[in-house]
């Protein structure tokens, strides 16, 4: 369904509840609705084929005394996306929860309960999500009156209350530190023998307050560098997504050459990320040779990035208006050589593992979630494509120079971890294909950086979708007045995928937990995105060793 049709339908069906609609570009629509109609409208949009992306909460108390809430949806087949905006007076910030209809909205809504103090009626699990357990009640850090560096005193003896364990199960704590988690997060697995019967998740331990920081402290063009550090693997994706959102909001057009360079950087990042994941997947099923060999191949990409951008991982290539460094003829040739070698070696790697029955045994039929459930849970990226859902933001919502590229989107219908592995391996070759086209067709002239001649207009809304290696990243930007965004919402691909992990785990073996979780390539930092500041400087209490031992022992048993 096209944007015009959907908006028309909504206006017809909901009448006065839809107060305004605008379409700044053919692929974006913004619809304002009354608070009372929010749930019905959202439900209808999903019914019309919309895929829920993320929700954005905003603080507009200074301006008109309201707290805003925006739900975003994508119509992938018709290549457009929309936002449904509503607001409620600050004194009564109550909204209908859309989680019963759209399960993936669960976290977004919980996030704004914590960060903005919104209330959602009918939410199935209104527990704390983002804030630390000892964070005081009633302090909502994303509200503008809360300073960015607020450090409430730490409290003792507060802990997250896990969900009730199903009868007859024992709880296995995975995390906050566990060797199959590469970042601190806590999973509580409810296990009967070795079979997983349920799971509760307490994450957001690496919440760094990046959104708050960037809305209050830094300026437009510093955000890409902060955004790049949201994730250690797909940093450039976040920088690009942010820059594109700002460019869309302010109507900045960047040169074609800059778009090509962005494409090349993103695809090189994808190559490194897919090879990294392949290695990690091998490691998680105890196959360290795949791990080492995949990373050996990946190392060439890392050196190439270092040569191209000046750093192995944090490329720092993207700024608003274009890119910082050029891809010279010399570097283009180097990329070509590395691609040839990587292609050859990846092919050898693929051939040696694709028929390995011992790997099949650990991945086939593991982490199963059906296509229907995946659609309902709005899964993205290779996880969705392994469940037969044909979505890829590069093709469906083209950005940078992807509209010029010819490539296939591998889709597998096996609905398990093996499918994810196949999709990601095949995508390596598609990436190489895209890179070759980009190098061949890149226009030889055009400025790297489009200059912004006038200050960016405030209060423009825009959002941008970028296909990160592990799925679709979405950034929503509302431009601000002080040379920085008024609101910047980051949704990393792990955010929707992680929410479906309990479903994937259900009924599987405990030994499969690492690879099931690993199959979505969870990036907890991205999901948490949030304390640049060392929170307890000067207030650190050093525990004596004896004390520490006692604590650790008490926790056991």
């Amino acid at each position: 369904m096209t944007a015009v049709e959907v908006v028309k339908k909504l206006k017809e069906e909901f009448g006065a509840a839809v107060t305004a609609a605008e379409s700044p570009s053919p692929d974006r629509s913004f619809v304002d609705v009354e608070r009372a109609g929010l749930r019905a409208v959202s439900h209808r949009i999903v019914g019309l084929g919309g895929r829920y992306i993320v929700s954005i909460g905003t603080d507009e108390i200074d301006r008109n005394g309201t707290l805003g809430l925006i739900h975003t949806f994508a119509f992938d087949a018709d290549r457009w996306a929309m936002a449904v905006r509503t607001s409620a007076p600050a004194a009564d910030p109550v909204f209908d929860s859309i989680t019963p209809d759209i399960p993936n909205a669960g976290w977004s809504e919980r996030e704004y309960m914590d960060l903005l103090g919104l209330t959602f009626t009918g939410h199935p699990k209104p527990k704390r999500l983002v804030l630390a357990d000892d964070w005081p009640e009633g302090v909502h850090p994303l509200r503008k009156e809360v300073p960015y560096n607020l450090m409430p005193p730490a409290a003792e003896d507060v802990a997250y209350r896990l969900d009730e364990a199903p009868p007859g199960t024992t709880v296995i704590p995975i995390g906050p530190f566990h060797s199959s988690l590469h970042e601190p997060e806590h999973f509580a697995l409810y296990v009967d023998g070795e079979t997983i019967k349920g799971c509760d998740y307490r994450g957001f331990m690496t919440h760094r307050g990046i959104e708050k920081l960037c809305q209050t402290q830094v300026s437009y063009n510093e955000v890409p560098f902060v955004a790049e550090r949201i994730c250690g693997i797909c940093g450039s994706v976040h920088a690009t997504t942010y820059a594109q959102a700002v460019e869309a909001a302010a109507g900045i057009r960047i040169s074609r050459r800059a778009e090509y360079i962005r494409t090349i950087v993103l695809e090189i990042e994808r190559l490194h990320s897919h090879l990294l994941w392949l290695g990690v997947a091998g490691h998680l099923i105890g196959f360290d040779t795949v791990f080492m060999q995949a990373w050996r191949v990946r190392e060439r990409i890392m050196w190439l990035s270092e040569r191209m951008t000046g750093n192995r991982k944090t490329y720092g290539m993207v700024v608003i208006g274009g890119v910082r460094r050029d891809i010279t003829q010399e570097i283009a040739e180097e990329i070509g050589e590395v691609l040839a070698a990587v292609e050859k070696e990846t092919l050898a790697l693929k051939r040696s593992i694709i028929g390995d029955t011992s790997i099949h045994r650990r991945t086939k039929g593991v982490g199963v979630i059906s296509k229907e459930e995946s659609v309902r849970w709005s899964l993205v990226g290779p996880v969705a494509r392994a469940r037969g859902i044909d979505i890829d933001a590069r093709r469906d919502h083209p950005y940078a120079a992807y509209d010029d590229m010819a490539f296939d989107v591998p889709v597998v219908a096996s609905e398990d971890v093996w499918g994810t592995l196949v999709v990601r391996v095949l995508e390596i070759f598609e990436s190489i294909k895209i890179l070759r086209q980009a190098l061949r067709n890149m226009p030889s002239d055009g400025p790297l950086l489009a200059e912004v001649a006038e200050a960016l207009p405030p209060l423009r809304h825009a959002f941008s979708l970028v296909e990160a290696p592990r799925g679709e990243a979405a950034h929503y930007v509302i431009t601000g007045e002080e040379n920085r965004p008024e609101r910047w919402r980051v949704r990393a691909p792990s955010y929707p995928n992680l929410q479906a992990v309990p479903l994937m785990l259900l009924g599987d073996q405990f030994a499969d937990f690492p690879i099931i979780l690993g199959s979505i390539d969870p990036c907890f930092s991205c999901t948490d995105r949030v304390a640049v500041i060392d929170v307890r400087t000067g207030r650190r209490r050093v525990l004596a060793r004896r004390e520490l031992e006692n604590i650790s022992r008490r926790g056991k048993g």
Binding site: I172, E194, I285, S358, D512, E549
Partner: protein, 302 residues
């Protein structure tokens, strides 16, 4: 008599000193398969020395926790004292039978279990339950191997059994048993794809999670000697003994053969992912069945 005692002591010495070397070889080889340089061959010795010098944290109460590493190491050392190294019987070899060896080997496994259960750690518990399952399913294969040769030589005496195949020659049953032993070898020594009880990525070394310092060093040494012992057992049961008449040379030849088995273990370990316990149990069940077949064939005189 005196020489018998000396040979027994030589056994212990050879196993304790050579086991870390074999482990080093395995690590080095794994590294090569992974295109890495790998640690130097002396690394396992240094690891053990380092652990011995570390503080022994007793994170759990009770004597079973403290005793378990000692019992494990002691039982595996007892086993290696008995075997005729270099095809030369020592003072103990002809006094014991295969039942003793199996008993002592199981004792080692039980000690690990005991330590794991005593440490009262969730992951150790899972490790223990997996270890128990592995033991129940794998020990019969070992027992059948020894019983099959015992049938061949009509004696349960250790010395006869260990030289059994060499003496009676290869038959259908021996061939089958050799294959089964090789298939079970990774499980005997807890290497991939059967390092399920330790599985560091899921349960963080399972049974050993709470151990540190000298206690852990003992477990480590136990694992190394166990690996060498199972390789040695394969060599002495299935390969005909070479007698040059010069004892140290005999021992060296046998150790060289053990090296070949360790190489096999390392290469298989490096090219396989870990199995799940339910998959492994099905695999073991097939092995038990096959080993029973081999014994049956041996009874038929094949």
């Amino acid at each position: 008599m005196v020489m018998g005692i000396v040979f027994a002591l030589v056994n212990v010495l050879v196993f304790v000193l050579a086991a870390p070397f074999y482990d080093g070889v395995a690590r080095r080889l794994t590294a090569r398969v992974q295109s890495r340089k790998g640690p130097p061959l002396r690394q396992p010795y240094l690891d053990i020395l380092k652990l011995l010098g570390k503080e022994n944290l007793t994170s759990a109460e009770g004597w079973p926790f403290k005793l378990a590493p000692l019992a494990a190491l002691a039982s595996i050392l007892a086993v290696v004292t008995l075997v005729p190294l270099g095809a030369r019987a020592n003072i103990l070899s002809h006094r014991v039978d295969v039942i003793t060896v199996i008993y002592l080997l199981v004792l080692g496994g039980v000690s690990v279990l005991l330590g794991a259960l005593a440490s009262r750690n969730t992951f150790a518990m899972i490790g223990a339950s997996r270890e128990m399952m592995t033991m129940i399913m794998v020990e019969p294969v070992l027992a059948m191997t020894l019983i099959m040769t015992a049938v061949k030589v009509n004696s349960l005496g250790l010395q006869g059994v260990l030289a059994g195949v060499g003496a009676s020659g290869f038959g259908l049953s021996t061939g089958l048993m050799l294959a089964v032993y090789l298939l079970a070898l990774q499980a005997f020594v807890a290497r991939q794809p059967f390092d399920i009880a330790e599985a560091e990525i899921e349960i963080l070394e399972g049974p050993f999670i709470e151990y540190s310092g000298p206690s852990y060093a003992m477990f480590k040494l136990y694992m190394m000697i166990k690996q060498m012992f199972y390789a040695f057992l394969f060599v002495s049961v299935f390969l005909p003994a070479v007698r040059t008449g010069f004892y140290p040379l005999d021992v060296l030849l046998q150790l060289a053969a053990v090296l070949a088995v360790v190489v096999f273990i390392a290469v298989v370990g490096a090219t396989n992912p870990r199995l799940r316990i339910d998959q492994a149990v099905r695999y073991y069940a097939a092995l038990i069945f096959l080993s029973l077949c081999a014994v049956g064939l041996a009874l038929k005189g094949l």
